[in-house]
């Protein structure tokens, strides 16, 4: 057989191997989006009810809907707060447990635990701990004389967003920490040794060796994390239902509420489609602006898989 034959055979085999994945993506991603776009052009109120084609009416309504505009803002704040807090905390934890200490392997393994807890359990657990009268958090800070009155972690509109950010971060920080640890492990040890001989203090070492090495990872996480955080629904719904008032009503929460409690599934779908396009545009801009880092990151992952 000639080289050419081998190549075309390889190409065919490759195609066969990715085919199931392609079919799966079409079934669970592309088709729902297409049918979602269809529904958004109709007047359907609940699943299975009669409807007619109304064109872009749902979209026009949404652009004048103060609640929807507000939820976009809430989502933006939610993403920024979560992204900032989680990244910073995970990076600090990763740097800390990357230092050699006794029990390091134990910590490195079990730190993943919160991530493995189902969202429903997490939500119930923290609602219970945040409880105003008997929650462990309030009894503790009161016992330490830090506060006079119990803090309404989930009922105070000024605090509820922060409380949710904290709980959501509690879930995701372990995962991010593991990613950072993997990334830190790929920084060549001898660069640190050279820097120590050169007299660089820990901060200069971080700035000039650690950080540049982490940058591709940070960039990829910036994208993935934004998309993840944007779509968080379970924790918010189960802990505050978007409240108090509309203090924690992000776009996914509003759309769910509109579809199943406001009985307007076509308008909610239109809102979801708008949100999807916002995220797609963000992703494109983000990737384009950081294309260099993405190339480095993909090379790194290729190196790691060798």
């Amino acid at each position: 057989m000639t080289k050419q034959d081998f190549r075309s055979r390889d190409a065919k085999l490759g195609f066969l191997l990715v085919l199931p994945a392609v079919i799966l993506v079409i079934l669970v991603v592309i088709l729902p989006i297409i049918s979602g776009i269809q529904i958004s052009f109709t007047s359907q109120r609940v699943v299975g009810s009669e409807y007619e084609f109304i064109g872009l009416k749902n979209y026009f309504e949404l652009f004048e809907d103060k609640q929807f505009i507000a939820s976009l803002g809430k989502s933006a704040i939610w993403v920024l707060a979560n992204g900032f807090f989680q990244t910073l905390a995970a990076l600090l934890i990763a740097l800390l447990i990357n230092q050699p200490f006794r029990g390091q392997n134990f910590v490195r393994t079990w730190i993943i635990l919160p991530w493995a807890v189902p969202a429903a359990v997490t939500a119930i657990l923290w609602r219970w701990m945040f409880d105003a009268s008997s929650g462990i958090v309030n009894t503790t800070i009161k016992g330490l004389d830090l506060v006079q009155k119990p803090v309404l972690f989930l009922a105070n509109p000024d605090i509820a967003g922060m409380s949710l950010t904290f709980v959501n971060s509690w879930r995701y920080i372990p995962f991010l920490t593991i990613i950072f640890l993997a990334s830190l492990a790929s920084v060549p040890e001898e660069e640190y040794e050279a820097a120590r001989v050169d007299g660089a203090n820990p901060w200069l070492q971080f700035k000039s060796i650690t950080f540049p090495n982490l940058l591709p990872t940070l960039t990829v996480l910036g994208l993935v994390g934004t998309l993840w955080a944007s779509n968080v629904f379970d924790i918010i719904w189960m802990m505050t239902r978007g409240g108090p008032g509309e203090a924690t009503t992000t776009v996914p929460v509003l759309m769910y509420d509109m579809a199943f409690y406001g009985y307007n599934i076509s308008k909610a779908t239109a809102g979801a489609i708008i949100f999807l396009f916002v995220l797609i545009i963000f992703a494109f801009v983000f990737i384009f602006a950081n294309r260099k880092q993405f190339v480095v990151a993909s090379e790194t992952f290729q190196d790691l898989s060798k």
Binding site: E193, A195, R196, V197, D198, N201, N213
Partner: protein
């Protein structure tokens, strides 16, 4: 530049002793080479001097300072790592200037010194490149430049030439000698390459299994190896060894091996042992028509101007160097004589050199 003193240096990793009681004083401006086989503790010794490895015992003095407890950055030593350890995310120029930046020098002064070193090492064209975009030889020069730019008390170099191809290694070796001579640097240099050690070092510290077994200038290490290990390790092709008995007949000392007898020169008459190991280098043998030692050729290797001939002499396999013009084939019977001034005798028990009165 400064002198360095290593006193009773010991290093243990857990239970295993890796460096054992090393005592070496390196003079101001001296080029000292630690040479020895792989795993003998050269790198560990160097890492203790630079401060990347703690000491189990002993003292390290640089200049007149005891530096045992100083962090690497405060010892004022520069290190060239075996794999260069360049900062992969920095340009050549920033690699060179990093140590100066860490010391808080002004940007202008840094640029000036980086420029000067770049010129000295022919790196001017490469200043804006990243290490990934450099060839092995260029990386090596950057690593060297990073050390030179600091103007340190001592240079430490861990096999800096081992990643270069043969030709480039020769050339860089010459440049390194010129550079360190010009700067009058104190250098501690680690290599397992005995040719490199012989050509570069003012003195050699030959290491084996964590111990310094000989500390002498290269000629002396070559001509009067302290024990069988040094004799075998230094010199290429390696020295021949065979067990001999020493008998006294008619007021002469006679070397007896299983295949030949030989009268020992008078310079050896002070020894009293009756058994020894005889050592001679392949180039200290000379073909003769009659007399001498006789052996049968097993293998012939052509090395260029010379041939290395392996012979079976009695129970021993020996090698001798002969001019390439000699027509020799395996199976031939040969006779050769040994240069009487270049014989080495080693004790059979501890394998130490037996003294001859010729020695200084």
């Amino acid at each position: 530049m400064a002198s360095v003193a290593l006193k009773n240096l010991c290093k243990k990793f857990g239970q295993t002793s890796v460096v054992k009681d090393v005592n070496v004083e390196i003079g101001d401006g001296e080029f000292l080479v630690f040479v020895g086989p792989s795993g003998c503790g050269k790198t560990t010794t160097l890492r203790m001097v630079v401060g990347l490895e703690s000491l189990s015992e002993g003292e390290i003095h640089i200049g007149n300072r005891l530096v045992n407890n100083l962090p690497p950055g405060d010892r004022d030593v520069a290190m060239v790592f075996q794999n260069y350890a360049l900062y992969s995310h920095m340009t050549v120029s920033r690699n060179l200037g990093f140590a100066l930046k860490a010391r808080g020098l002004a940007e202008k002064e840094i640029t000036k010194r980086v420029q000067r070193v770049a010129k000295m090492l022919d790196l001017e064209e490469l200043l804006e490149r990243k290490p990934k975009q450099l060839s092995g030889g260029q990386r090596q020069r950057v690593a060297l430049g990073r050390a030179v730019v600091r103007n340190p008390q001592v240079f430490l170099m861990d096999e800096p030439l081992s990643n270069l191809d043969a030709l480039l290694r020769l050339q860089t070796r010459k440049e390194l000698i010129e550079l360190t001579t010009e700067l009058n640097s104190t250098v501690i240099y680690v290599t397992h390459d005995q040719v490199e050690a012989m050509t570069m070092g003012h003195r050699l510290a030959v290491m084996n299994k964590g111990e310094v077994v000989q500390l002498d200038p290269p000629e002396k290490v070559f001509n009067e190896p302290a024990n069988r290990f040094v004799a075998e390790f230094i010199g290429s092709p390696p020295m021949n060894f065979l067990d001999v008995e020493i008998a006294e007949e008619n007021f002469q000392k006679i070397l007896k091996s299983d295949a030949f007898d030989m009268v020992l020169p008078e310079t050896w008459y002070s020894i009293s042992e009756s058994k020894a190991i005889l050592g001679f280098r392949p180039h200290d043998a000379r073909l003769v028509a009659e007399g001498g030692v006789s052996g049968r050729v097993t293998v012939v290797e052509t090395l260029g101007a010379e041939k290395l001939v392996y012979l079976r002499v009695g129970k021993n396999s020996l090698s001798i160097l002969v001019p390439a013009t000699e027509k020799i084939r395996s199976g031939d019977q040969l006779r050769f004589d040994l240069n009487q001034d270049a014989l080495h005798l080693f004790n059979r028990e501890d394998e130490k050199r037996m003294p001859s009165t010729k020695q200084s």
